[in-house]
Amino acid sequence: MSKRDVAVIGVGYTSFNSLTPEVNWKELMFEAAQKAYQDAGIDPRKDVDSFITCAEDFWEGFSIFDEFTPDQLGAVLRPMHTVTGDGLLGLANAYMQIKTGLFDIVVVEAHSKISELLTYEDVVQLAFDPIYEAPLSGDVHPYYVAGLEMRAYLEATGTTEEQCAAVVVQHKRAAFFNPVAEFEAQLEIDDVMGSGYAFDPLKRLEIAPRADGSIVFVLAGGEIARRLRGCPVYLEGIGWSSESPWIAARSPYAEYAQRAAQRAYEMAGIQNPRREIDLAEVDDQFAFKALQHLEALGLARPGEAGPRMREGAFGPEGEMAVNRSGGSLGCGHLLEASGLARALEIVLQLRGEAGTRQIKDARVGVAQSWRGVPHGTGAVAVFSRRD
């Protein structure tokens, strides 16, 4: 592989809100983009070699959403394309483009304007196999699949429901310290356990609420990043992988995340993730997913993440910081932007810009994404500070 390294030279983001009725998606994206370009100190009309947006048509309500992306990012008459995947998959493409040596600066955007979709549940169901899966559920909420997957995970690892509930408590508390998060709450495990089964064993409060927001990353070849920023945050490794798309044919261990992590760690030269990684931001669209993902990332052994979460090992006083941003449970699930929201927190922490939630001496962080019900695709990105 080419020796050129890749670094983050700018990030920009809006706040994450359950509703954004005052702006359209273009105006939302423009805000994040302008902030990212300010942060990077670049002019998008001159300095950027390629632009990437991460979006899915049915989230947006357009048959070809790609049409509606260039203007607000400064990409008119420039190379730009859509990745129908989450923001980390966008970063992966930017990483590869920069590695070819033909692209110096690449911009990645991901957003959610999901409050505009009035039939969210129907659209989620439209992602099910239309012959074998979708006809079974009728008017049932499609998140029942998360209940099936949670049961399989609990059975396979011996994790308890209380341990899953502890994830909600911790992430929603963390969100108090994140000014752009909107779903902070002071809850106890009993509150979560008592919130009622939605899809047994999954409880209502264990489901991340949805939010709107836009995030923009500016990546550059290492030599450019060092010139512009001195000491940038590096994207050291990125992996992505998929399991079978069939709901009934997947493992209980989030193998997609295991394989993605394997690749990302290999690229980043990480041999012992538990020892070498200082902070993690994992996908927590459903509370148990955070535990399953921590284990898939090798940050806990199977069945171990739950008890350690319950003991506070991943909390503010714990041995490893997990989802200090508040995660999707605390910030809201940003659909295709959730992966970038996880990566954003890592970048801010590694830069020392995380305000009251700043972790001391953080040098290596990992961000992870999952594309959500009913799929088994995810990505993992490793970032570091090298000073």
């Binding site: 702006v23 002019d43 049915f58 309500g61 607000q72 505009e116 979709l117 039939t119 129907d122 239309p130």
Partner: protein, 166 residues
């Protein structure tokens, strides 16, 4: 080399015979119009075409946006346009939105507004015009719905018709 390409073609009739599932999608949205389009729609309701000026490139952007995509900066202020323009291009359509055939053709096209930069306008219908007379460069003016019927939509303009005075 393609030797024996695969794929089992079906007639429309066969498609109804083979195992299949029919489903009606439910995908409904309430898109926020945003800052620029909220003003624009309010303008239409009042019988005005509003654009947005960019000081740097000196363009009047219509349809308006809060940012100039060329300069990548915020736009600077509202400009009311006279509403007249010229036909930039047009089509005479014998099909509707679902590709059904229609008897009376739709005259549709893009006009460029007077007071805006070249090629700068919107798509709309053309009316009170025949297939023989319609042409690129033809001056046109909007025919508005009566004030009480306007709701703040692009269809508050019924169509654009030739400017007989021009």
């Amino acid at each position: 080399m393609i030797e024996k390409p695969r794929g089992r073609p079906l007639t429309a009739e066969q498609m109804k015979q083979v195992p299949h599932v029919i489903a009606r999608p439910k995908a409904q949205y309430a898109w926020a119009a945003g800052v620029a389009m909220s003003h624009f729609l309010e303008g239409l309701k009042q019988g005005k075409i509003l654009g947005r000026g960019c000081k740097r490139c000196r363009r009047v952007l219509v349809p308006p946006r809060m940012f100039c995509e060329r300069c990548f900066r915020s736009t600077d202020g509202w400009v009311e346009l006279p509403g007249t323009g010229v036909i930039e291009t047009f089509s005479i359509s014998y099909i509707d939105t679902d590709a059904n055939r229609i008897q009376d053709p739709i005259f549709v096209g893009v006009l460029a507004f007077d007071g805006a930069p070249p090629h700068c306008g919107i798509m709309h219908y053309f009316g009170e015009v025949t297939a023989d007379e319609i042409h690129i460069g033809m001056p046109v003016e909007p025919v508005w719905k009566p004030e009480g019927e306007r709701v703040g939509a692009i269809t508050d303009i019924k169509y654009f018709r030739p400017r007989r005075d021009a």
